[in-house]
């Protein structure tokens, strides 16, 4: 067996691959996805951190045209920028009021969780607002609020109130935009709860009924605990959605009037790519702060998922 040449080599080679196949295969499958994700998501996060330490107008490369200024961007943001404060407060308003979509979605899901003729079509139609783009939702609500011919003012005029220019009023504009955002988000939560209600254990309900539970008590003590996975997902998507709000603001108020409806994501965009010159470094600093706020929630979600994973693997 001393002679065989290339034939033997390939055998050896195959042997090595075969022996390690199970260890190598996952990496081969991961490589394309990981490379794309690293280039477009992971590295940019670190780059943004770096850019936030510079004064840079985005022209030329950061190394040659950027001016390193350390933490100056952050210092200005946190101490001397009133617009940043307003944006941060508006983010908080979004976060709190957007959560209303969870009980609202549950309410509609309970209303629709019946078996009558045509109910499937009704469920789809209620879900409708989530499918259309936020741009169209924004346009629809801009016209809805229009002081002259909007449906909103048509209704309150009918009841006898003076017309209100919701989006033109600095104290109301943010709430007006949030209300528009609640529309699709409630539809999303509704569909989560409808699916959850489908899988509620009927025997437990019967048992509780025999014990005399009904209405709110039944909902609170029997149904909601079983809906916990749905509630968790609704919470995750609503929190993320509220912090990501951008499209609606951009379409409905463009941050105004007088910057009163900006949020961090919008303010960042405005600073970085506005017609008044590109302040990439300052924008990146805003993005970093938004990222850190988001990271607190993401950390919590991941921790919850990690607990689930551990439980699943025993």
């Amino acid at each position: 067996m001393a002679t065989t040449s290339p034939w033997n080599k390939t055998l050896v080679k195959q042997g090595w691959y075969k022996r390690n196949e199970i260890a190598i295969t996952p990496w081969l499958f991961l490589v394309p996805g990981l490379i794309m994700f690293a280039i477009y998501v992971v590295f940019p996060i670190f780059q943004s951190f770096r850019i936030s330490l510079f004064k840079w107008d985005g022209l030329g490369s950061l190394a040659t045209h950027g001016e390193y200024i350390g933490m100056a961007n952050y210092e200005k943001l946190l101490t001397r920028d009133r617009s940043f404060n307003i944006s941060l407060w508006n983010n908080l308003k979004w976060l709190i009021f957007y959560l209303a979509s969870i009980p609202a979605g549950l309410f509609i899901a309970l209303f629709l969780n019946q078996t009558v003729r045509g109910i499937r079509l009704y469920k789809s139609l209620f879900f409708f607002p989530f499918v259309i783009s936020q741009i169209v939702v924004g346009l629809v609500f801009t016209w809805f609020y229009d002081p002259q011919y909007g449906l909103f003012n048509g209704i309150i005029g009918f009841v006898g109130f003076e017309p209100i220019n919701v989006l033109g009023d600095p104290t109301l504009s943010t709430y007006g935009v949030i209300a528009a955002g609640l529309w699709p988000q409630t539809a999303y939560c509704m569909i989560l709860y409808l699916t959850g209600l489908n899988s509620v254990d009927p025997e437990q309900i019967e048992a509780a009924r025999l014990d005399g539970a009904k209405g709110m008590r039944m909902l609170w003590h029997v149904i909601l605990p079983q809906l916990r996975p749905a509630t968790f997902i609704a919470f995750v998507v609503t929190v993320i959605g509220s912090l990501r709000s951008f499209d609606l603001i951009s379409i409905m108020t463009n941050g105004g009037p007088f910057g009163s409806s900006r949020v961090l994501s919008f303010y960042m965009f405005e600073k970085s790519l506005s017609e008044y010159g590109f302040k990439m470094g300052y924008g990146a600093a805003i993005a970093v702060i938004l990222f850190l706020i988001m990271m607190m929630f993401i950390g919590y979600f991941l921790w919850r998922m990690y607990q689930d994973e551990k439980a699943a693997n025993r």
Binding site: A23, W143, I205, K214, M218, G283, F291
Partner: protein, 281 residues
């Protein structure tokens, strides 16, 4: 079933419920119905202040014809040319990553998985400046390709989460049986796992189609102008062109919203299955 099935309630409440359903639905969709109504009015209705009355004439064909005579078809075409490659790319990549993370046990598995999930939740703004820069450097600014590449990469995060959990729930015995037969690992992927993933692929495709079609932020960050912008971004220039012509702006919005809506109604089962993954245990 909760709440109490309507069939077990009194006859009056049954009828009341049936009557309530369409009313509540009309209220829920009122803002949208208003726009639909606007889109078939003649422009003269707006001049005389007839916003909510019966339209003086039905101008559906004329209004929508005007929309199709504008740059709108270009934008719609762009949207398709951006959305479809993204769906294919992201689903293909995540089938592979999902397979790797769902089937194999190796060090760093959970870490990579969590990295994908976390990346999928980050605010877009933290990526904006570097990604715009990268796209400029590659000469892909204001091209559909530039937008598609980014979308594929970003959506891979969400898709991986979805695919991995789906694959993890498949019976592992299938894979072990195939291994005992001495089938190569990539063949296991191709012939054993992939055929079982069809429902997940369908659900994910519909979801990603809708997400990407409705994207606005990246469209305005990475493109400008008719030759690359998708319809979400194009509609703002369309509206600037037809400022205060509400019948046309309404018709344009409805056209822009239509493809994902059709997709949803045709693939409803898959769409909802995808969206509610994890909502039940």
């Amino acid at each position: 079933m909760f709440p109490k099935p309507i069939k077990k309630s009194s006859r009056a409440w049954q009828l009341g419920y049936q009557a309530l359903l369409p009313i509540v639905m009309l209220l829920w969709l009122a803002p949208l119905l208003a726009v639909a109504l606007f889109s078939i009015r003649p422009d003269s209705d707006f001049l005389v202040g007839n916003y909510w009355g019966w339209p003086s004439s039905f101008e559906m064909i004329k209004n929508y014809g005007m929309v199709f005579g504008s740059a709108m078809p270009r934008y719609i075409m762009n949207s398709f040319l951006i959305t479809i490659p993204t769906v294919i790319g992201a689903v293909a990549l995540s089938c592979m990553t999902g397979f790797a993370l769902g089937v194999y046990k190796f060090r760093g598995n959970l870490l990579i998985f969590f990295m994908f999930i976390a990346g999928n939740f980050v605010p877009f703004q933290i990526l904006m400046v570097p990604v715009r820069d990268l796209t400029l450097d590659m000469g892909l600014y204001n091209t559909k390709t530039g937008l598609v590449l980014f979308h594929i990469a970003f959506q891979t995060g969400f898709c991986t989460l979805f695919m991995r959990n789906f694959i993890k729930a498949l019976p592992y015995e299938l894979i072990e049986a195939a291994r005992v037969e001495g089938i190569a690992e990539w063949r296991i992927f191709w012939y054993v796992v992939l055929p079982l993933m069809k429902p997940a692929i369908a659900a994910l495709s519909v979801l990603i189609f809708t997400f990407i079609w409705n994207d606005y932020f990246w469209a305005i960050v990475l493109t400008q102008g008719e030759n690359a912008q998708p319809v979400t971004a194009g509609i703002t220039s369309f509206n600037a062109q037809f400022r205060a012509m509400y019948h046309l702006m309404s018709a344009g919005s409805i056209i822009a919203a239509l493809p994902p809506v059709l997709m949803f109604f045709l693939m409803q089962k898959h769409f909802i299955a995808g969206l509610t993954l994890g909502a039940v245990k």
